[in-house]
């Protein structure tokens, strides 16, 4: 008896639709076991994680606030992954966007600068993110260097640059020696949508990005090229599509969106530049992209779900003393199940009895 994979004649549409749900279900089962092993009441833990945050207005706003960067970054990443370009350095592009945008905020601090400041910051953030993403893309296209490794190495570099700036030249003199810039001026801050709330304009921008992503992929020739280059590189060559150009384009868009997300996060919910502005948004967005099936609407839903795990994780830490790392374990397990379930779209399991051919398998 042996379990083997058998290629399906065509992609299974039913499995494609329900596989993210199966993945979430399996993840919840796994987490229930983990909570029990940790000696926590699993039912209560699941309630605190997934239900409680949905029950009050403040948490709902927080979910939207957390989902904003995740969705923006993941839309860009999905373009890269569809084109078979592996940008996994979104975290670094996020940080660079935050740094570049903050530069304007820091330089105009306490001056009479007008309302041009915030738009300029957003623009700078997006450009810096795009340029930073183009480094691995150019290294890949010109020299054939693995974009996976180079984009990831640059995350550490961006992290150290941010650290240097807030401990050195940009440090707030009144900050009691904490490594942070001063609070940004009101003109350098993303406006909130609800009086006294935390929901901010960036969430609207994220929705616009989702719509733009859907149009790009669904209605334009560029979107078609991206899909073909990723899915069938040979066909794309015959079709005259320039794969290298698409790598540069998708990395640039992806970096711009990550950078934009970075400066929005700093100028919005955080309010100043400091280390630890991201609880790993750039990496979690990879999960969001896959859970959303590299589809803009799917990514929006997946982003909200992953944001829920961040908020639920914080509440579980406060209410039940469950370590925050459980959230990362949860996210990793979820990604595993998403990928595993995706395998069933292309393959089906078959149990075969031991045949001579299989038994012969050793050398």
């Amino acid at each position: 008896m042996q379990l083997v994979l058998e290629k399906r004649a065509e992609r299974s549409r039913t499995v494609a639709l329900i596989s993210p749900l199966i993945a979430i279900g399996l993840t919840i089962v796994t987490m229930t076991i983990l909570f029990a092993v940790m000696g926590k009441n699993p039912i209560l833990a699941l309630y605190v994680y997934f239900i409680a945050p949905l029950a009050d207005g403040y948490s709902l706003q927080e979910i939207a606030v957390k989902a904003t960067p995740l969705v923006m970054i993941a839309i860009g990443l999905s373009l890269c992954y569809l084109a078979n370009a592996w940008n996994i350095g979104a975290e670094g592009q996020f940080l660079m966007g935050a740094v570049a945008g903050s530069w304007i905020a820091v330089k105009t601090q306490g001056t009479e600068a007008g309302h041009w400041v915030l738009p300029a910051m957003l623009l700078f953030g997006a450009i810096a993110g795009a340029l930073y993403a183009l480094i691995p893309a150019i290294c890949k296209v010109r020299f054939g260097a693995s974009e996976i490794l180079t984009s990831l190495m640059l995350v550490y570099v961006a992290d150290l640059l941010l650290d240097y700036l807030v401990r050195g030249p940009w440090r707030d003199p009144q900050g009691f020696n904490f490594p942070t810039t001063a609070e940004f001026d009101p003109v350098a801050t993303v406006p909130t949508l609800i009086e006294g709330g935390r929901l901010h304009l960036g969430s609207i921008l994220a929705l616009i990005v989702v719509a733009a992503g859907a149009v790009l992929l669904g209605k334009t020739i560029k979107g078609f090229e991206i899909r073909v280059v990723g899915a069938a590189p040979r066909a794309a060559r015959f079709g005259g599509f320039n794969a290298n150009q698409l790598i540069l384009l998708t990395f640039a868009i992806s970096g711009a969106l990550s950078g934009l997300a970075g400066i929005i996060e700093v100028a919005g919910p955080v309010g100043h530049l400091q280390p630890g502005i991201s609880p790993g948004y750039g990496f979690t967005a990879i999960i969001v992209a896959f859970l959303g099936r590299l589809n803009p609407v799917g990514i929006l839903i997946a982003g909200l779900f992953l944001a829920l795990t961040f908020i639920g994780g914080e509440q579980a830490q406060i209410a039940m003393k469950i370590p925050l790392d459980v959230t990362k374990v949860f996210q990793g397990v979820l990604l595993f199940y998403v990928l595993a379930c995706d395998s069933l779209i292309l393959y089906r399991f078959r149990i075969i009895s031991s045949s001579p051919q299989v038994a012969r398998g050793t050398h």
Binding site: A145, Y164, Q331, A340, G361
Partner: protein, 305 residues
């Protein structure tokens, strides 16, 4: 003289985890599997290695715990990438994200604890020889183990039939399968070896490099190990050179900081990462006449029946 000795000793110590992890990944990749989860396997190895040593007081038990943890993590990867034919890049990323969370969870109880680090070899008289004595005969056991391991891997890959089969799986899994070799099983063993090495490399950090565990202490070493296999063109000999060069860059920045050079420490700390990018670019550029990577590296294989 003493400064040179100190520098060489610290370079060897900084290089050893890189060499161990990269040795494992070299074998994995030679079998045709790209496991990007090295960082995840390392960091879980670090947490479990420290936990094992702290609970039992034995460095060897700690090292074994690290190796077992790394192997279990790699089996997770093997089940996905080989058993379910899932994209290897995505699975490797998942392994790293999962590993970072898991290691934080496992290690939460150990933060702030200390152990006695792995002892250094001491042979009377010989170890006392100036300069070379301590460098050649005064290291901790992991340093010798890592060098023995890479030598064994060289011998295995190039001097044994099994090694030839592993390389065949990495270069052309269809042919290897047609010849009757169980490609998936061979790859699983290679992945497990990679996991054990990564786990040991992670365990080296709290067992010998620093005597305590902190979350995230691998700090990208797993990714640098991945870059090292590219640097080495998948050859064991070059891997040793590469690992020691990278160890040297790491130590260079530490000593430069200590010497009070007027460059901000963060710029010096970013050197190993920048060096990785530059090395990858230079090597990929220098490589003419096609890539030296195993031809089937990173491709999914589902046997026909």
């Amino acid at each position: 003289m003493e400064l040179i000795e100190a520098i060489i000793l610290s370079v060897l110590a900084a290089s050893t985890p890189l060499l161990l992890a990269a040795t494992g990944e070299l074998v994995t990749e030679r079998s045709g599997v790209l496991n990007l989860g090295v960082e995840g396997m390392m960091i879980v190895g670090a947490a479990c290695g420290f936990g094992g040593a702290w609970l039992t007081g034995s460095i060897i038990v700690g090292a074994l715990c690290g190796m077992i943890a790394g192997t279990l993590m790699s089996l997770l990867f093997a089940g996905m990438a080989l058993g379910l034919a899932v994209n290897q890049v995505a699975t490797g990323l998942a392994l790293t994200i999962f590993g970072i969370g898991l290691s934080g969870l496992i290690g939460a109880g150990f933060v702030g604890e200390r152990i006695t680090p792995a002892p250094h070899l001491y042979i009377p008289f010989i170890t006392n020889i100036p300069l070379i004595g301590r460098i050649l005969f005064g290291e901790d056991g992991f340093v010798y183990l890592s060098l023995a391991l890479i030598a064994a891997v060289w011998w295995f890959l190039y001097r044994t039939r099994a090694g030839l089969i592993v390389r065949a799986c990495g270069d052309n899994h269809v042919s290897a399968h047609a010849l009757g070799y169980p490609v998936l099983r061979i790859r699983m063993y290679a992945v497990m070896f990679g996991g054990a090495c990564a786990g040991l490399a992670g365990a080296y950090l709290p067992l010998a490099y620093t005597p305590f565990f902190i979350p995230g202490m691998t700090a990208g070493r797993g990714w640098i190990a991945l870059a090292l296999t590219v640097f080495a063109s998948w050859r064991p000999g070059r891997l040793v050179i590469g690992a020691y060069l990278f160890g040297a860059v790491t130590i260079l920045q530490l000593h430069a900081q200590g010497a009070g050079i007027g460059i901000p420490s963060q710029f010096m700390s970013s050197l190993p990462y920048l060096a990785t990018v530059i090395v990858l670019v230079l090597l990929s550029r220098a490589r003419t006449g096609g890539s030296t990577a195993p031809a089937a590296l990173g491709t999914v294989f589902v046997p026909d029946r």
